[in-house]
């Protein structure tokens, strides 16, 4: 029941918000913040009861209804793959809400309602173990995000919102078809049971893998299905970009882990090299394009494409290092990129521009801001002792030793991605913070307020924590990852 309580707790806040009068903007903000904080508290409670060695923790399995004899269940559960994602979600949500304190002035009520609804959706996606339930949550996250981009976004917000919606929906169409097929063949929609009955649909594995895979690939996004991402990121409000980059993109990668690998192991093994190549193209392409950007937000957006390329590379290495590195890197990316978007948003609030050329020499004017930015940028680059390094390093180790890739070249080429990242991130940092102050408008900029520092502080703390002492995180992840990898490998062996 803990899971249900945690997942749906934000709805309490939604209800409270609905009842508030339109002018009580500050009350609304507080209500939303407190709700999300309590949700975070609940997730910590879940963590306290979490046992990494069990495959599903705190499972809630309620019969929902039967459709033509096939049960559709309300089936939630948490394991090592999802626990970090859940924590990431509940952790980032209050931070995002805090970041909107000044940024969102219009229709605060609607904004907060959509934000909390989004949290429900995201938690549901990470917890659902019934395919239909998963699909419902998956699609449901679209709606609040669509509005967050479409109402509170930038100039081309409508275009970006519709593009985001249609791309994701297009992906999920095939997934729905695959879910229907699985349910029909196996007579169940529950993920564990489907794994057990894998033999029934083994013949169609590759097609099913593709159907699921395209949906997740769009979400991740894997090259060449990434085109919606820069638009959505750039046009979304800061909090939206944060959540989008921090959590929503992880849903895709998580989907691969949760469904593609265990349900279609043989197909996964077969597809792994292709996926890895796409991931590497994504890493290099994302980096190259990021380098060419003049808009900071676009730069960060393209950097996401590159970073998630690493995640995919790790997942399809199909060994323990690769997968657990990928899971950790998902968290890392959520935190680092989330923080980057937050920083971009803060400067945008002050200058109403994101052009790289509009800045320069901010180091002198906003020292605290510059300092935090330094930490975050370096973490995103993967500097040792910061979180990014741990994740990327583990992934590269995994890729290097991966049997399915069969060649160290994959890891070798991917490593160039790390260098590219260093290049464009340092270029960005230099253009904004170093050198002389070229624009007179920048001279009067104020440094971070206390609220903003409070917003950023937890992120910085986690960046250092993971970077210096990642063991507790790996302890959470590893048992589940080992199970998963074993399952995939044994299935692949059997089928070979």
């Amino acid at each position: 029941m803990e899971l249900v309580l945690m997942t749906f707790f934000p709805l309490v806040g939604v209800l409270a918000l609905v009842l508030l009068a339109p002018h009580q903007k500050n009350v609304m903000r507080w209500v939303a913040l407190i709700t999300s904080l309590i949700t975070f508290g609940l997730s910590l409670w879940v963590l306290s009861q979490f046992d990494p060695t069990k495959s599903t923790n705190m499972a809630v399995q309620l019969p929902w209804f039967r459709l033509a004899g096939v049960p559709i269940e309300f089936y939630l559960g948490v394991d090592g793959l999802s626990i970090l994602m859940v924590l990431l979600t509940t952790f980032l949500t209050p931070i995002s809400i805090l970041s909107t304190w000044k940024a969102v002035e219009e229709q605060v009520k609607g904004f907060m309602i959509f934000f909390l609804l989004l949290e429900v959706g995201m938690l549901g996606v990470f917890l659902a173990l019934d395919l239909v339930l998963f699909y419902i949550f998956w699609e449901f996250t679209l709606i609040p995000m669509y509005f967050l981009i479409g109402i509170w976004g930038g100039k081309r917000r409508i275009y970006a919102a519709v593009k985001f919606f249609l791309f994701t929906m297009a992906g999920s169409i095939l997934m729905l078809l695959a879910i229907l097929y699985l349910g029909l063949q196996a007579g169940t929609f529950s993920q564990p049971q489907l794994i057990a009955n894998r033999a029934i649909y083994a013949g169609a594995e590759m097609l099913l893998f593709l159907a699921f895979g395209i949906a997740f690939a769009i979400k991740v996004p894997i090259f060449p299905l990434h085109t919606w991402l820069p638009d959505a990121h750039v046009e979304a409000p800061t909090a939206g970009s944060m959540i989008l980059a921090g959590v929503l993109l992880k849903m895709g990668a998580y989907g691969f882990l949760r469904f593609n690998l265990p349900l279609f192991p043989q197909a996964s093994v077969q597809a792994a090299p292709v996926m890895a190549i796409l991931a590497i193209i994504g890493i290099i392409y994302g980096g190259a394009v990021a380098f060419a950007q003049k808009d900071v937000k676009k730069l960060v957006a393209y950097s996401s494409v590159a970073h998630l390329g690493f995640v995919v590379l790790g997942i399809f290495a199909l060994n323990v290092e690769g997968v657990s590195g990928a899971v950790l890197q998902m968290v890392n990316h959520g935190i680092s990129t989330g923080a980057l978007f937050l920083l971009v948003g803060m400067i945008y609030e002050r200058r109403h521009t994101r052009e790289l050329d509009a800045f320069g020499g901010l180091w002198k004017i906003m020292p605290i801001y510059a300092g935090i930015s330094m930490v975050v940028t370096l973490s995103s680059m993967g500097l040792p002792a910061l979180n990014g390094f741990v994740g990327e390093f583990t992934i590269l180790v995994g890729a290097f030793g991966s049997k399915v890739y069969g060649s160290p070249w994959f890891a070798g080429v991917a490593t160039t991605g790390v260098i590219i990242a260093a290049v464009y991130l340092l270029k960005m940092y230099e253009k904004i913070f170093l050198g002389p102050v070229t624009h007179s408008e920048n001279k009067s900029l104020k440094d971070l307020s206390v609220r903003e520092i409070i917003t950023l502080a937890p992120l910085v703390v986690v960046i250092f924590w993971i970077g210096i002492f990642p063991k507790p995180f790996f302890d959470l992840i590893n048992p589940a990852v080992e199970q998963l990898v074993q399952l995939v490998q044994s299935a692949a062996m059997v089928l070979h």
């Binding site: 209804f65 039967r66 479409g150 249609l166 169409i173 729905l176």
Partner: protein, 482 residues
Amino acid sequence: MTQMSDLLTILPVFIVVIWAVLLLLIDLWIPKGRKGITALLAVLGLATALGVDLAIQGQTSFAFNQMVVLDGFSSFLQVVILASGITAIALAYDYLKRMDIEHGEYYVLLLFSIAGMMLMTQAYNLLMVFLSLELLSIPLYVLAGFARSRTESEEAALKYFMLGAFASGFVLYGSAMIFGSTGAIDFPGIVAALNNGSANLILFVIGAALLLVGFGFKVAAVPFQMWTPDVYQGAPSSITAFMSVAVKAAGFAVLLRVFLVLFPSLADKMTPVLWMIAVLTMLVGNVVALAQNNIKRLLAYSSIAHAGYILMAFVGYGNGEVATNSISSALFYLVAYGLTSFGAWALVIAIEKEYGKGLMLEDLSGLGKRYPWLGAAMLIFMLSFAGVPLTMGFWGKFYLFRTAVQAGNVSLALIGLLTSLVSAFYYLRIIVYMFMKPGDRELHIDKWVSLVLVVTALAVVALAVFPGLIFEWAAQAVMLLQ
């Protein structure tokens, strides 16, 4: 001879027609300008019939020498139709006054049409099929042209009439062919003739095809859809709302019954045709809807598209295992579509300024901001139309596509899914206008329309959380199909 049990079989229909006739008389004493009383009385009659219908759920019987049948299928659809009728009256209550076309006959004709639809769900004889088709159509022709001083309304009525009568012609010729091939017009007789091989199969196939064409017109399946946008646009919105749900329900009711009872042996010939029609209907409806700027026309094309989805359920009708699922998925989809459609039309009625005015998409600008609840309701309806989860529309599509996959028509389900992606685009346009474009229009939403909005929106969401209710009811209805 007629007996009490016969009467019991058609009791709901009986109540509605008798009430219509009485209402015609009572209306004479209701002063002009207070025709709301007539509306309330009409609702009373429909509610009584609805109550009776719910009370006799689960019973099955034949009556009037097997002219009509009462089974789960018919009582399910009758509940849908009666509920549509009540909703349509709620929508019309204030609308007619505003458009200055308030006459008591409106409600009387509506009741007659409803009676025709109800009878259609029960028809078990080609003669009854034809007559109930006419009983439902003729009052609707008039109702479509009810705004007499409006050229649009009259044109809509004339077009509807022409195409409706044209469709009747096909139904009739088809019936004649089937009679010619089997020598019977009652379903059992036709089936018997088919089974003992005395039927002339060539004639039978021609007849079946003609029937399909005729009913294709009624449910607005492509390529027989050309009347729909004009009629939907020109007719009074309160009638359009009714047509978009109830006529479809009745049309599909008879189509389903005819196909399942009479044409199972033609399945191999019919399936490709139905496949083609379903695909075309989904494609044309959704693609053309993209280009629409008038909400009524947009919803008209969307209703064509939804007819296509329901037709998808038919494709596998010949497959015994799938057949029950086809019907119950079609029934479920009808409920989902009906609730959603009424909600959307309630909004159209709320924003219609003068007759047919203020219905362009730009006129929606800013409504979501100004009327958040209205906006939320419309959001729910549009998402439900598009088939996004946590709405009835999602489960409807889910079930339909499942049926299609089960019948082995993965390609069909894929086309359905792709077209619903297309449809998401124009439904999102409405949302974009409502929430993301500036504007400040005043609406006057009367209490009945808002009631409809609230009830349908809540139902679309609540029944999406607990869809098992309707699923089971639909499945049960099919179990009792005669």
